[in-house]
Amino acid sequence: MAASPGDPALKAPFEADAGAEAEGPAFVVDLDGFEGPLDLLLDLARRQKVDLARISILALAEQYLAFVEAARAERFDLAADYLVMAAWLAYLKSRLLAPDPKEPDGDEPPPEMVAAALAFRLRRLEAMRRAGEALTARPRLGQDRFARGAADPQGAAGAPLWTASLYDLLTSYVRLRMKTLKTAHTVARRPTWTLAEAREALQRLVGRSADWARLDALMLRYMTPEMRATVLASSLGASLELAREGRLELRQERAFGPLYLRGALPLAPDPDVPSKRFRR
């Protein structure tokens, strides 16, 4: 339920003494107890202790604004809805207090009508709330009244009567379609050429060939338009790796110039040597 008049959460903004909260955010206004501004308004309206049909909207607007003011003074962040309602009520209040003498200005309904509509909505919400309480107070199936407890072994059944609700139908359809979409995204995932693939291809292409060959020319066959970037990146990475391991040699004449490679010398090199062979 919404906070009752005795609820400390609600009292806080009104009754907290200013000094206590001077430092620190210890102060919490439990707006979670309210289901939005209308709920808060209804709670405030109930405190006018009159028939909801005769509440003063002006007084209600003032109470609401005071509540919001107090909450803001405590540096409490109010959800946007509460602030929008505050602005709306402030405007309504100003119109109620100072009616525009030159009346029919635009299509704005007179403030009294707007106030009456708000009062109506509060009464309607209250009525629905009471209706919900009245419903749940009824003798409920499974708690106060009971259906047959066991299947009847003699109530032989024929062909099953298949049932499903429209809700089942719609949710399962939507679920399916969402799933299909997700799969489509996976398929469209950016293609990659892994380092392992590059390594394997390089070893196959270069092998022990003693001739220098341009890396991009060697890789040409793999470079479909969408694969170009990944093939270049992976083959460069793999060739550096292979050079470090002494399996091939790399040569580049100048910065950003083409990269040449050839098979390593047949003699197994000293582990330190390969890095020296890597000339820039």
């Binding site: 339920m1 707006l31 979670d32 309210f34 289901e35 939005g36 501004p37 209308l38 709920d39 959800a79 946007a80 809805d81 929008v84 309602m85 709306w88 704005e108 309904p109 009508m113 707007v114 509509a117 708000l118 109506f120 909505r121 009464r123 309607r124 919400l125 009525a127 629905m128 709330r129 009471r130 209706a131 919900g132 309480e133 009245a134 419903l135 749940t136 009824r138 003798p139 409920r140 199936l141 499974g142 708690q143 106060d144 009244r145 009971f146 259906a147 047959r148 407890g149 299947a151 009847d152 003699q154 109530g155 609700s165 429209l166 809700y167 719609l170 949710t171 679920r175 969402m178 997700k182």
Partner: protein, 241 residues
């Protein structure tokens, strides 16, 4: 409830709703088939379904009235549930049957309120529910009510966007011991007070509840995955936005 003071075996004197002569016209065979059918059926049975089990031409309505009357004072009553009929234990037997009582279905306050609005205003669109409650309706709330069999998708409003309308389902009547939605508590009063009238004229609207799908400052995108699964299962109540 009727009954406790009536004789346990209602002999001749019916209480006026069904005369003895009328009752005599309801053939015993039909009454027995109805008893057996309604007893054996796991769900309430419609008059139409019951008629299909009886010899052609049987006055099903009369037979049902005879049975209703016969069971009125018993431990088990024959009750009407919308268009259908079912045996249910008498409401005053609750205490004696406490062993059978299940954990009450936990409905959040938001769910109860939403259910009441749908029941009293049906057919109601989501926008209408939100207008009355003044807050956005969470998906979880409607799902809970749909899954419980309390509400159903009725159709669509003939209005721009043709929004889906919700209404109560048979499970609602059954659960809350209502014969029909016209038996809703306080319905006439609310109607008389004009509280069930349609939407307010435009221009008199309060600021509308926010449900534009846009992210609030304290939210982040769902990211990958099934959006259905992303809804936490306990997203039952409506959070104040």
């Amino acid at each position: 409830m009727s009954g406790r003071d009536e004789p346990f075996f209602p002999v001749e004197g019916f209480d006026g709703r069904v005369s003895a002569e009328e009752a005599a016209r309801a053939p015993a065979y039909a009454l027995r088939v109805l008893e057996a059918s309604l007893f054996a059926a796991p769900e309430p049975l419609t008059e139409k379904a019951l008629a299909a089990r009886l010899p052609h031409g049987t006055d099903v309505a009369l037979a049902l009235r005879v049975l209703v009357q016969h069971y009125a004072g018993r431990g088990v009553n024959l009750v009407r549930v919308g268009e259908a009929w079912a045996f249910r234990t008498a409401p005053d037997m609750a205490a004696a049957l406490s062993a059978e009582a299940r954990e009450p279905r936990k409905l959040s306050r938001a769910a109860i309120e939403t259910l009441a609005i749908i029941a009293y205003h049906q057919p109601a669109t989501r926008a209408e529910i939100e207008e009355i409650r003044g807050v956005a309706t969470s998906r979880g709330t409607l799902e809970t009510l749909l899954e419980a069999g309390f509400i159903r998708l009725r159709g669509r409003r003939k209005a721009p966007g043709r929004p889906v309308t919700f209404g109560t389902a048979t499970g609602f009547l059954d659960h809350f011991a209502l014969e029909s939605v016209s038996d809703l508590p306080g319905l006439e009063e609310l109607k008389g007070a004009g509280l069930l009238d349609g939407r307010l004229p435009p221009g008199l609207d309060l600021p509308a509840p926010r449900d534009d799908g846009a992210l609030a400052p304290d939210e982040e995108p769902l990211g990958e995955g099934d959006p259905f699964e992303a809804l936490s299962p306990d997203d039952d109540g409506d959070a104040a936005p």
